[in-house]
């Protein structure tokens, strides 16, 4: 069976084609194409501009994907699209494209939960069978474990997502959004030396990032590091007797990463202890961060387990994860009638009945 997956819940437009061979051999990725809407430094992506980007690229991407996968429309079994959660306008433009393809080609539609897509893709690529999942991206921060036909949320953010915290701090420092603000923060953080005190807000298995963002934004303002025209390279830190001094932008990125990733590792560890699991799977855009993977690896090793993570092809929003989750559902007989092929900005991971797992 072959499925096309369309993903556009944020600034990435992804088209992917997955094949589940009929003889039961492992699923294959036939095409995985992505085009990202990049906003200028200091700015985030606005829904209407992102939707416009998706509308103007979706046809090109679908054509290119079909060509790359060397499949004809006739071979495709279903069209999978992201039903939610995500930004309204971009979701809508992709849902319209999915509906159009479905009517044009006479193929079934399958609405997919974005978070479930990430989890299923991560499981497929890493081979992790029943891990505790840390799903970290620009819009979501959740610790998830599977139990009785649901991906249950054990912990999550109480306010903004961890990726949103990083993205917005990148805006404060006017760091480039190309290829991704989080990636550029990660590179800058490698040069950081001094750990500045930031709030640490873990509540049980939940955490909060808005106060940390406000604090680090405040520090940036205090030391005049925010906004355009700063010159961080020539700025050699002046240290006092305790080894503390004026932090550089790199120090702030370093401190921000160390603090929020410690929180994420801590809540993941707590969920692992709670459900008695030794495997961790990191998915979502922030999951590409190598420092996060490293910290998670140390934690997992100390618990006698290991961490599974993927690279940017599968971590960052993509079409194949939607095709993968959609195809799993489609094989159990699930379809989304045209009447119900709407999308929604709020769609909790545990709302989905996971019929395909035991």
């Amino acid at each position: 069976m072959i499925a096309i997956g369309l993903e556009g819940s944020a600034n990435k437009l992804g088209v992917g084609i997955m094949m589940h061979p009929d003889n039961g051999s492992p699923p294959q990725v036939l095409a995985n194409i992505r085009h990202t809407y990049v906003s200028p430094p200091g700015e985030g992506f606005l829904p209407k501009d992102t939707a416009r980007h998706h509308r103007s690229w979706v046809v090109k991407l679908v054509k290119k994907a079909l060509k790359e996968a060397r499949v004809s429309v006739r071979d495709v079994d279903c069209i999978c699209f992201t039903k939610g959660p995500g930004m309204g306008a971009p979701l809508q433009s992709v849902a319209v494209a999915a509906r159009m393809l479905s009517l044009l080609w006479g193929k079934a539609l399958v609405g997919v939960n974005h978070c479930v897509g990430h989890i299923e893709m991560g499981r497929l690529i890493t081979g992790a069978t029943n891990p505790v999942v840390l799903y970290v991206s620009g819009g979501n921060t959740q610790v998830i474990a599977y139990s009785s036909q649901r991906y249950r949320i054990f912990g999550e953010t109480l306010d903004i997502a961890v990726g949103n915290c990083l993205d917005r701090f990148a805006r404060t420092l006017h760091i480039s959004n190309d290829p991704a603000p989080g990636y550029n923060i990660e590179q800058l953080a490698k040069k950081g030396r001094q750990l500045v005190d930031l709030p640490y807000t873990v509540k049980g298995m939940d955490c909060s990032f808005s106060g940390i963002l406000a604090a680090v934004d405040g520090l940036a303002a205090t030391y005049g590091l925010g906004g355009k025209g700063k010159d961080d390279e020539t700025d050699t830190p002046v240290l006092d007797a305790d080894g503390n001094g004026k932090p550089t932008p790199a120090d702030l990125c370093f401190s921000l990463q160390e603090t929020i990733f410690s929180m994420l590792v801590e809540i993941t560890e707590r969920a692992m202890a709670h459900v008695g699991s030794k495997e961790v799977l990191i998915v979502g855009g922030v999951g590409c961060n190598e420092r996060l993977q490293e910290m998670m690896g140390i934690m997992a090793r100390d618990r006698g387990g290991n961490v599974h993570a993927t690279d940017e092809r599968f971590c960052i929003d993509n079409g194949i994860m939607i095709a993968q989750a959609g195809l799993l559902a489609y094989k159990t007989g699930f379809q989304t009638p045209l009447m119900d092929s709407t999308c929604t900005q709020r769609f909790r991971t545990d709302d989905v009945f996971i019929k395909w797992r035991g």
Binding site: E156, L158, D159, D206, S262, E266, M299, G304, N306
Partner: protein, 268 residues
């Protein structure tokens, strides 16, 4: 990504390296290792909570968090013991981890079964055919669960009355004190005093919001760990309602907390 290096648990902090018999490791929680040992006399059992340093964390951050948490935990426990809430008493602590092998807290030993296990056993029993029970026997089963739920509500109420919130209420952090070791018969498996443990995330607060959130966390924990028992969660609130004067206000606030999409307000 997998790192197959073998892991050996960190060594015990100094005073406990000379204990005979040596402390036995019971659980490796997320934050701490719990050992069973003795205090002062070989017949006084004690629980030792060691917070080893977390190598994944930056050392400065690690020291700050460990110190903050172990002191907070001890302060809450001491206060609760004074207020007569059933929690383990504090014997001794070292918040700096002077030996370099972690900060530790030595507490009274609570003999009993973790409530999570009690419910799991019951759920397993129900799954294995108990659900077919009718009439008198089903009512007896139901009453057992309801009784334990009320007991949980009462102890949480006592905690809140004393001005402390737990911060991580799950059934893993409740012990059903039995006084004796070993298995008990099915009829009496849910009898006994409920004792709260693990105050690693506790804080002193009398705000109804914090209290309501505490209850909400417990409610969600039931939903995710004991789906079959969730229907009886109302009994926890019944037990809670009668436990202190401000309980009704907190329960009203709980309604609001449930209504919010995200779970907790970060006011204050």
């Amino acid at each position: 990504m997998a790192s197959p290096e073998p892991y050996t648990p960190p060594p015990l902090p100094t005073p406990f390296t000379h204990t005979t018999p040596p402390p036995t490791l019971l659980t490796q929680g997320a934050e701490a290792h719990i050992y069973k040992t003795t205090h002062l006399t070989p017949t006084t059992p004690a629980a030792l909570k060691v917070r080893p340093s977390k190598p994944y964390r930056h050392p400065i951050l690690d020291r700050r968090l460990t110190r903050q948490r172990i002191l907070q935990e001890a302060r809450c426990l001491v206060k609760l013991v004074r207020e007569g809430v059933s929690v383990p008493a504090v014997f001794a602590l070292d918040w700096e981890g002077q030996s370099g092998d972690g900060a530790w807290l030595l507490m009274e030993w609570i003999e009993g079964v973790v409530v999570r296990v009690v419910f799991e056993r019951w759920e397993a029993f129900m799954k294995a055919g108990g659900e077919g029970l009718r009439g008198e026997r089903w009512r007896a089963e139901e009453e057992k669960v309801r009784g334990l739920m009320r007991g949980i509500g009462a102890v949480v109420g006592g905690l809140h009355r004393a001005g402390v919130i737990h911060g991580d209420l799950t059934t893993s952090n409740l012990i059903l004190r039995s006084g004796v070791e070993g298995e008990r018969e099915r009829e009496r498996e849910m009898e006994g005093e409920v004792v709260l443990i693990d105050f690693g995330l506790a804080a002193q607060s009398s705000s109804e919001e914090d209290r309501a959130v505490d209850l909400y966390v417990l409610e969600r924990a039931f939903g995710s760990t004991h789906p079959r028992c969730e229907m009886f969660f109302g009994e926890v609130l019944v037990g809670y309602r009668d436990s202190y004067k401000g309980a009704a206000v907190t329960l009203k606030r709980l309604q609001d907390v449930r209504m919010r999409g995200r779970k907790r307000s970060m006011i204050g």
